[in-house]
């Protein structure tokens, strides 16, 4: 099977997965034993007529398949409304998802900066103190309750050092937002892409020259990002170490050494092959970061997509839940596909 048809096949198998995820979310929502409409409206407004209207709007009186069809169509037409916040669900996601993207990016940078050098050093100096350190870090990361680590990071960086803050999240100015919207409308496709990158304050700030937004964002996010990276860094460093050791032990390295290559060049050969499994695991952890770190976002008080989903579940706000889960599942599936393609690209022996 050629490369093109492999991708085509993978994209076709997306569709049942995505429909399944939507349906699963819907089943969970439907299984709620209490009446969600009662949970949405506040006590003061329990006018039966109003409840009846909301019920009508979200098709609660219709059979389940009509209700499901209603959710699916309103998601794809973008008209789904958040019944708790009385806003369009997509506007809500548009402000929250960029925050998660920022956190994921900063955390990913820390993750790469921690795991790859440590892993390589641990492999080169096998059984030395640095190898031991990587091992300890891996055990620590997989055994530490994440929320306990977050509390202690807050204690160190916020209570003692006063080097970060825990309230709010910096946003780009309205002028900058207007500029981005303008770009999106004037240049249909490319402008849309540029604008959606710009909606992430970290990049939008840089595009509009609002550097204080960039620095404030970094100051706000580096502690949670570092904590997330610490939790996964050791594990990934171990994978880097093991696959680098595997590569160093292979025959082409022996050959390269026999040919008298310099040590650094020998390592470069080995590194290329090390990157195959490392790309996979890094790609998947980036996907995991993008789907929202619920606990980190809760403890550090970051209004990201993970917390939005969590809050939606707690308030039985399942129009919001369905939309955000769909987004997250799409990202997961797409990242998986990208990882597979990268895999085939890095290692030409792998073709499907």
């Amino acid at each position: 099977m050629g490369f093109g048809s492999f991708i085509a096949r993978r994209i076709i198998t997306f569709i049942p997965t995505i429909i399944g995820v939507l349906f699963l979310t819907y089943i969970i929502a439907y299984a709620v034993p209490t009446d969600p409409v009662r949970a949405w409206v506040s006590e003061k407004l329990t006018d039966p007529k109003l409840i009846e209207r909301i019920r009508e709007e979200y098709k609660f009186n219709a059979p389940w398949y009509e209700q499901f069809a209603f959710f699916v169509t309103s998601i794809f037409t973008g008209s789904l409304r958040d019944p708790v916040r009385h806003t369009n669900v997509f506007d809500e996601i548009k402000t929250r998802f960029p925050v998660t993207v920022e956190l994921a990016l900063v955390s990913f940078i820390f993750l790469v900066a921690i795991s790859i050098p440590l892993g390589i050093l641990a492999a080169l100096y096998k059984d030395s103190w640095i190898d031991f350190l990587v091992r300890i870090l891996a055990f620590f990361g997989s055994s530490m309750p994440s929320f306990v680590l977050y509390y202690f990071m807050i204690l160190i960086f916020f209570s003692w050092l006063r080097a970060t803050y825990l309230a709010g999240i910096p946003m780009i100015s309205l002028q900058c937002m207007d500029k981005l919207n303008n770009i999106a409308t004037t240049y249909p496709v490319i402008g849309g892409v540029i604008a959606s990158i710009g909606y992430v304050p970290l990049f939008g700030g840089a595009m509009c020259g609002e550097w204080d937004v960039v620095s404030e964002t970094l100051k706000r996010l580096y502690v949670p990002a570092l904590s997330l990276a610490l939790l996964n860094g050791g594990f990934i460093a171990r994978i880097v170490r093991n696959s680098f050791l595997d590569a160093l032990g292979s025959e082409y390295i022996l050959f390269a050494k026999a040919r008298g290559l310099r040590r650094f060049n020998v390592w470069r050969h080995a590194l290329k092959n090390t990157m195959v499994p490392v790309t996979t695991i890094l790609g998947l952890s980036f996907g995991g970061l993008l789907s929202g770190a619920v606990i980190a976002e809760t403890v550090f008080n970051i209004p990201g997509i993970g917390r939005y989903m969590y809050e939606s579940i707690m308030r039985l706000n399942f129009p919001a839940l369905i939309a955000s889960v769909l987004l997250v599942a799409l990202i997961y599936v797409i990242i998986n596909l990208i990882v597979d393609i990268l895999y085939a690209y890095i290692d030409p022996r792998i073709r499907y």
Partner: protein
């Protein structure tokens, strides 16, 4: 120490072999090579410091979980703070420095933290074991069937697995855990024997069945989330084992599918699964604590470890630093025990890494 562990393991193997021989006299003769392999595993394990440390921690965890609620000096359902306001969040009192106070301090309600931990370890242990023991067989079964049968069966099982994997695990668990308590509560209310049995397992009082329902919904939610990873890995391994000559031979002999799966394929893929289960006991402990931390597990008065931390987090760090630090370390140690044990088992169960030890012994 290492020899003592080896002797202990070797004695238990002897005991098991003697038992099997009682049932079926020829058993040890037919399985001589397998028994020899077990002995080698026991030997390799007793030479691994990581494994010994992990095994020790796991052993202590199990003992604490079994006897904890029985020896706990204070009940969790009495709030001393009602009588005496000053008992709230007392700091730890370790003998040489101070005396008379509670050893590890008190929590929000003035309850002795040591007792709360003794109750909490039981809850954490039971929930993690049950999650893994119930979630894994579902995954193994589906993975075996998908990998062996192939075709449409494979495709549909794998699409189902993809669907569950595409859902962020914690969110899925939160969603299930939030919709289920009401139903489980109804079930528990309807059948007192079940209620008594489950609360005895968790070391709780039967009248807390409302909280028990929350605990069980966390447990069920985690089982639902847990199986897909196993299904995918088992399927992958089965695909590679399926093509080997001994499976062909078994097929030609006319063995039934279930017999081939159970007798010929499963033993060949079980070692990595055992290792993964050991690691997952750590993950399950932490994940269940995380759900309780988010407020989905049991509430007052049940001293679930994650819930204790989330309550203490509200006053962090001024008053409750010791609660977060101590309860957090307990969770860390439990998870670390499983992770260390899993790391050692991976080396011990893999014939490639075990062989070096094998030769050292013979030589």
């Amino acid at each position: 120490m290492r020899d003592a562990v080896y002797n202990l393991l070797s004695k238990s193997i002897d005991l098991y072999v003697a038992l099997r021989d009682k049932i079926d006299p020829q058993w040890s003769m037919r399985n001589a090579s397998r028994i020899e392999e077990w002995r080698l595993m026991a030997y390799a394990f007793s030479r691994s410091y990581i494994g010994l440390l992990g095994g020790l921690i796991v052993f202590v965890t199990i003992v604490t979980a079994v006897i904890g609620p029985i020896i706990a000096p204070q009940p969790y359902w009495v709030y001393p703070v009602i009588e005496n306001e000053s008992l709230r969040y007392l700091p730890p009192c370790i003998p040489p420095i101070c005396s008379g106070g509670p050893l590890l301090g008190t929590d929000e309600w003035g309850r002795d933290l040591l007792s709360m931990i003794l109750y909490g370890v039981r809850i954490s242990f039971v929930i993690s074991v049950v999650i893994v023991l119930l979630g894994v067989p579902i995954g193994i079964l589906l993975g075996l069937v998908a990998g062996y049968r192939g075709g449409l069966v494979d495709e549909s099982i794998m699409r189902l697995t993809d669907m569950f994997l595409a859902f962020p695990g914690l969110i899925l668990a939160i969603a299930f855990a939030s919709v289920m308590p009401q139903r489980i509560r109804d079930i528990l209310e309807a059948s007192p024997p079940l209620r008594d049995f489950l609360s005895a397992i968790f070391g709780l009082r039967p009248q807390e069945y409302g909280q028990l329902a929350a605990l069980i919904s966390v447990w069920v939610a985690m089982v639902i989330v847990w199986w897909p990873g196993y299904a995918r890995i088992v399927r992958g391994t089965v695909l590679s084992v399926r093509e080997q000559p001994f499976v062909e031979a078994a097929k030609l002999l006319g063995l039934s599918t279930s017999k081939i799966l159970y007798r010929h394929i499963l033993p060949n893929i079980i070692s990595p699964i055992i290792v993964m289960m050991t690691f997952d006991l750590a993950t399950a402990t932490l994940a269940a604590a995380a759900l309780s931390f988010l407020g989905l597990g049991p509430q007052e008065p049940v001293p679930e470890l994650g819930y204790l931390i989330s309550k203490a987090g509200q006053f962090f760090p001024e008053k409750s630093l010791h609660v977060v630090a101590i309860v957090g370390s307990i969770l860390l140690i439990i998870a670390l025990g499983w992770n260390l044990l899993g790391d050692a088992l991976r080396d011990v169960l893999d014939p490639k890494t075990r062989r070096s030890l094998e030769f050292r012994r013979r030589g």
